[in-house]
Amino acid sequence: MQREVGTLPLAPALRARLAAAGFQTAQELLDTGPCGLSKEIGISREEALEALQVVRQECHGDAARTARGSGATRKCTALELLEEEQTQGFIITFCSALDNILGGGVQLTKITEICGAPGVGKTQLCMQLAVDVQIPECFGGVAGEAVFIDTEGSFMVDRVVDIAAACVQHCHLIAEAQQEEDHQKALETFSLENILSHIYYFRCRDYVELLAQVYLLPEFLSEHSKVRLVVIDGIAFPFRHDFEDLSLRTRLLNGLAQQLIIIANDHKSAVVLTNQMTTRIGQNQSTLVPALGESWGHAATVRLIFHWDNSQRLATLYKSPSQKESTIAYHITPHGFRDVQPPAGTHSSEGTEMNPRKRPRTEEEKQ
């Protein structure tokens, strides 16, 4: 209530007039009322009404924010952040090698970018993640929902059905092996129809529609608070033609990246983007690099590059703040994204791999 007039989100011209008229705090504005305000600073009654509405909303927002203890200027120690990050869930990919190099899976509140040539498996991984985010907590998942923004039209629902059916089957096997009550209960709601009904699909045909969709995303996520994954497949496609002015493209991409970071943080979701590869012609040879330019490389926190080696698909962790750069092999099977060999051991060890929190300490040390 004691907020200064200068900090309120009003039009600059209006703020200048208020300052000239001698108003200093928000409370003074509210006390004056719309009629008095319009007379004092010479604006119409509608404008005064609007201005007061904004002030009221701001003050209300401030009060709520201080009560919650979070907001734009939140202070906490690095230890608190570390603890928060360690309890943060991961979305597993069903390929344990990939989960290992990522440090547990695709991390919530971070942007992960997947780059690769066409046909290497980027959309497959996205579809796998849209199913895996929904795995119940007792099986080691985050029990969330998924938003899938498709710009290329490569989301084939039949494939998602195959992946989801295989995931449900896998959970059933674990429940049978471990025979715990909460497993059975969770399986009642973890069915194919349920999984499909919690994947929210948006189709964007050009970059303007994509920008519009991202502007509307925070509202959607507030209404659907269980969403823990936002996939944009692919981010390069709408931005790689139609731009005479590359600096406009860079500016739009930067703005988009900022909005996505805010969304990831505020709604505790993972954001996964897929990018194309392009050829960079060097002095004597050409190399494949991720598209959209150098500055886009800073947008994602984690960057994975998928590529081929003869007939084997490989994934390289190219950029990560906490994990080291490494390459692993993976397979795309009719059931989805998997390891090259099935993990060695009996059913029970498979079960413990599904739930990383239950993994014994010794296994962790081995890595």
Binding site: A117, P118, G119, Y201, R203, A212, W308, P334
Partner: protein, 347 residues
């Protein structure tokens, strides 16, 4: 742009008119801070404006994957595909060619690409019940003449190829009338063809299939190695235009592509393609591959490691159709032959 019809504050509308902003695209091209300065409004007003215009751009409301899966309406369903006219080939593709997106058919010369394309032009004219789209096709030739004699042969033999369709249905279809042949020997003509002719035919509902034979021919002579950036721009523009037409009119676009030899020393290719034994890759490089939904490859030589027993008994005419990549299909292949009545898969 008539801002009055938007659900906005009159103050915002006045500011929009005063700042001479003409389209929603212009608004979204500016950042929040730029808009504040330009229109002299508060950030809350700008947020409201952005949300309102964004909402108008949302063409379709949100769908869940379950709704997509359960949608059986042939006008919107993802399950609807364009059949190839042969059950073996359709099984390989799990129904046929997807309706939205660019599908590429690559292969060496005389492997059967034109045969398959012609067959598709006939298949699209059948009713929905028989895997068609009840509409015509556009065939864009860029180098060779259109094989009209062969087309006539195929038309005459349709009853033999499509034994699953009753004879009176086949007789009613005037196959020759609904195939529009366009010639485009250079890039500008091709550009004109896509932007004018194609949009017209598609908008009138007269065609539901576009075949381009072949795209590589347009680029072969005109671009030297130093002009690769320009070539990439053309490819991206064409790809985007075709993609947009395909999405708007739910029309499959089939691009025939040629192949070229590649040498192991090019490490770029190493990253791109699985070594499938033959030393060929589709032409036009990764720029074009990025525009595709699905890539199919045809060849006369059978792939190594597969049973030679099947191929050897009619080795001369046996060909393979393989799926190189597709979001909904595993890499797989099947054999087929080209006969008088058309392309038929071999089990």
């Amino acid at each position: 742009m008539d801002w009055d019809q938007f659900d906005l504050n009159p103050k915002t509308i006045a500011a929009l008119k005063k700042a001479d902003i003409k389209s929603v695209k212009e608004i979204l091209n500016l950042s929040g801070a730029d808009l504040q300065r330009l229109m002299k409004l508060s950030s809350a007003d700008i947020q409201c404006l952005l949300k309102t215009v964004s909402r108008t751009l949302q063409r379709s409301s949100m769908l869940t994957a379950l709704q997509l899966y359960q949608d059986k309406d042939h006008l919107t369903s993802q399950h609807q595909k364009l059949s190839l006219g042969c059950s073996v080939l359709d099984n390989l593709l799990k129904g046929g060619i997807p309706l939205v997106g660019i599908t590429e058919l690559a292969g060496e010369s005389s492997a059967g690409k034109t045969q398959i394309s012609l067959q598709l032009c006939l298949c699209v004219q059948y009713p929905y019940k028989y895997g068609g789209l009840e509409s015509g096709a556009v065939y864009i030739c860029t180098e060779d003449a259109f094989p009209s004699k062969r087309l006539q042969q195929l038309i005459d033999q349709q009853h033999k190829l499509r034994a699953d369709v009753p004879a009176e249905v086949i007789q009613k279809i005037r196959f020759g009338n609904s195939i529009f042949v366009e010639r485009a020997a250079d890039l500008d003509t091709f550009q004109q063809c896509i932007t004018r002719r194609l949009s017209l035919l598609l908008a009138r509902g007269m065609v539901r299939l576009v075949v381009i034979d072949s795209l590589a021919a347009l680029f072969r002579c005109e671009f030297g190695p130093s002009e690769s950036a320009l070539k990439a721009r053309y490819l991206q523009t064409f790809g985007a235009q075709l993609h947009s037409l395909s999405t708007r009119f739910r029309t499959p676009i089939m691009c025939v592509n040629q192949v070229q030899l590649y040498s192991r020393s090019q490490n770029v290719s190493y990253f791109l393609y699985r070594a499938v034994g033959n030393r060929v890759t589709p032409a036009l490089g990764i720029t074009w591959s990025n525009q595709l939904l699905m890539r199919l490859m045809v060849s006369r030589v059978s792939l190594p490691g597969h049973s030679s027993g099947v191929a050897s008994h009619c080795a001369a005419s046996m060909r393979t159709l393989s799926v190189v990549f597709a979001p909904h299909l595993p890499p797989s292949f099947c054999y087929y032959t080209v006969q008088l009545e058309g392309v038929k898969g071999v089990k």
